[in-house]
Amino acid sequence: MKDRLRMIPGTKMGKVICGVVIFFLLATSAYATAVQVINFPALMSMVQKMVTQAITDKIKAVWNEEVKIKLEPGTINTKAVSFVKYNISSFTDKMISQYMKNNAGAFARGDGKLFAETAKSKTAPIIPSANSDFKEFQKKIREVSILLAGAPGGGTDRMKHFTTAEYAAVKLRDVFNQASVVAYEKASEGVYVAERFRKELSSFDPAYIDGAKSDQAVKDLAKLAYYNAMLQSEMLAVMSQGEMRRALEGR
């Protein structure tokens, strides 16, 4: 048997068999080496690019979502809050500089017609409702201001024999009347603003803040801090005008 096997490579058929075996072995080795050595870096590079792109896209999507949440408005509708826009100061300034200068106080020479008409009118002076229009509200407040300003005194002709102290007293009384008008009108504005704030914001249910995202709550907090600052500033203005008037009282 051994002798027969030894004879096989020597024959033509044996050479063919050996060639086929060697060919198949070489082919297997060549394919494996080709994939492992030549294509593996290209494959890894491609994988790296694809993974990087996928992760970058995901981070972008999450970031965009987060930015979108951060840009969501708060639950308090600022368009419905109008109390911050009411200011009576310019209206009061005109009353002092235009009306009172000529029509009220000891130094005024006006005819006092408006004062007389207001005093004689049969309608009772009222503290107007904050539910009314602001212009209407101002109009009603002005009627009282005219009464507070007083009648014209006729000017300095009637003060020829006044002493210095009397002059000072007359001047202080005029200033006191002006301060009364300013304090009354500013306090009226305070009532209007307070009532508007209550009306506009008491309809808002704070439970909405609980239902929204915390980013929205922070925005609402900032808005409310602004409104609170406006209210406090209004309070300070009303108080300071009132105290200025009080400082002039009894002089």
Binding site: V47, V51, I209, L221, M239
Partner: protein, 206 residues
């Protein structure tokens, strides 16, 4: 029919079968190429890259989604101060503006408008308004005190230490709610102060 091949022919068949098995079976598996890649074209590499990329990105994206959902959930948790809705209800009650007018008119009816000079009538009107403002201020003070007492009572039930044990998101929501309540209280304070100053402005000799 009996197949009687010579020994050499049998050997040839055995060698061919063994070679084929070795090439397509054992040899390929032992070369650690999974899956077998007989021809390494761009298409097969791209396919493999896609599979590998998917296996890398899926757990990472799942982690990001999980983290994002946790954060979103935290943002949506309600605050710990739950009484705010009940407290804001207290301020929803309106002041009776018509009653103010009626009060002043009632006082004004007592003024005798006959045979009076302009200055006297102006003084009488201001006196009537002062009385009305006094009544209004008293009423407003009474209501404001009642509201303040109710809010105080509602707030007493809450302990501010609760903020130490809640998340930042909850504290932010409660801060907003408290700012809202503070606004309502301040508006009440402003109204009362303004009425008081209006009444004061009507006082004094002119």
């Amino acid at each position: 029919m009996k197949l009687n091949l010579p020994v050499v022919s049998r050997l040839i068949i055995v060698v061919i079968i063994a070679s084929v098995l070795l090439t397509f079976g054992l040899a390929r598996n032992s070369s650690a190429i999974v899956p077998p890649c007989p021809v390494a074209t761009d298409a097969t590499i791209a396919q493999m890259a896609q599979q590998w990329a998917a296996s890398f990105k899926t757990p990472y994206c799942a982690y990001l989604d999980k983290r994002r959902n946790i954060l979103l959930k935290q943002k949506l948790v309600a605050g710990v101060l739950q009484q705010t809705s009940a407290m804001s209800e207290i301020f929803r009650v309106t002041e009776e503006s018509t009653s103010i007018v009626k009060r002043i008119e009632k006082v004004a009816r007592r003024i005798n408008l006959k045979n009076q000079g302009v200055a006297d009538m102006a003084a009488a009107k201001l006196r009537a308004l002062r009385s009305g403002a006094g009544l209004t201020t008293y009423s407003a003070g009474e209501k404001a005190f009642a509201k303040a007492s109710r809010v105080e009572k509602a707030l007493e039930k809450f302990s501010s230490t609760a903020f130490d044990f809640c998340s930042r998101h909850q504290a932010q929501k409660d801060a907003a709610k408290l700012a809202y309540l503070r606004g309502l209280v301040q508006a009440q304070e402003l109204r009362l102060l303004s009425l008081l100053k209006m009444m004061e402005a009507l006082e004094g000799e002119r």
